[in-house]
């Protein structure tokens, strides 16, 4: 079977991280609060996942201050967009293969 399983991205296996990438690929940039509301996460949870994505080079953050309150904005990098696209493609192929395999 000619499946490109290497495209299943370990970093994007987490549903939350996949969600963050999804939202950031359709938006120029989003701040911490919007991401938290959209994905329905706690602060700590979001920080952990964004850090993982940052370390993978999929997103970049920029911190600004609105008055005294820090406001972090996140953007998807070109590498992140490409990884997200490949991961989705791989998932689609998986489903296709599985539905054929089980005769559905």
């Amino acid at each position: 079977m000619n499946l490109q399983l290497e495209h299943i991205d370990k970093t994007l296996e987490s549903k939350v991280r996949l969600g963050i990438m999804a939202v950031l690929t359709v938006n120029e940039s989003l701040d911490f609060k919007s991401l938290r509301t959209l994905l329905n996460l706690t602060d700590g949870n979001l920080v952990t996942h964004t850090r993982t994505l940052e370390n993978a080079g999929y997103i970049v953050s920029s911190k600004q201050f609105v008055g005294r309150i820090p406001n972090t904005a996140y953007r998807a990098t070109e590498a992140g967009r490409e990884a997200f696209r490949r991961h989705l493609l791989a998932l689609e192929q998986l489903i296709e293969a599985a539905t054929k395999g089980s005769g559905r």
Binding site: M1, L3, L5, I8, E13, K15, L18, G19, A22, V23, T25, V26, N27, L30, S34, T37, L38, L39, L88, L91, E92, L94, I95, A97, A98, T99, G101, S102, R104
Partner: protein, 217 residues
Amino acid sequence: MKTKPIAKMQNRETDEICSTLTEIRTLMNRSSRFLNLSPYAPIVSGLLALAAAWGVNRLYNGGWDIAPMLQLNTHARIQALIGMAAALVLLCVAATVGLSFAEARRNGSKIAIDAAARRLLWNFFLPLLVGGVFSIALFVGGHYGLTSSVMLLFYGMALVSASAHTFSSVRFLGYAELALGLADSFCQGYALVFWAVGFGAFNLLFGILFLATRNRS
């Protein structure tokens, strides 16, 4: 994970991937478009516009045609006309905002003026505001005949530009308004009829279609 044979993969797992993909898709849509627009908003706005058109028609004693009535445009009538226009705009905006809040509650989404809502507001109101000021300039300059086509054209532009940030079907209403506005600019003497069709009937029709398709899905 990598070594798991695909053919033996459980149906449950593929279902899980499917539901994840669906969730991702909703998330992408929800984050980039404002989807709490109520179908009742264009219906209410259309009805208000029809009522206003009827009011203007009464004001001019049953004539449907404003342009050749230049000599009939007394000071009091113009004041009443501008007052009605201002009231209509305020009522439509208030109705749309109120209904959107109700829609957000219905959808169970948090009522927030997020990035998507801000983009929608900006892209809708910028062309509308420019068109509004331009219409006032035309009206003040006495070009009554062109006012209605300018209003329709800029409203159409506003809808097309807003459609990228909310339900994409909004652009079809925009195209219809643009076609009507262009037709209006070539026809003289039926300003109020064109205006009533564009702002009244088209909005009403769009709202009804919107409501019907939403309830089906």
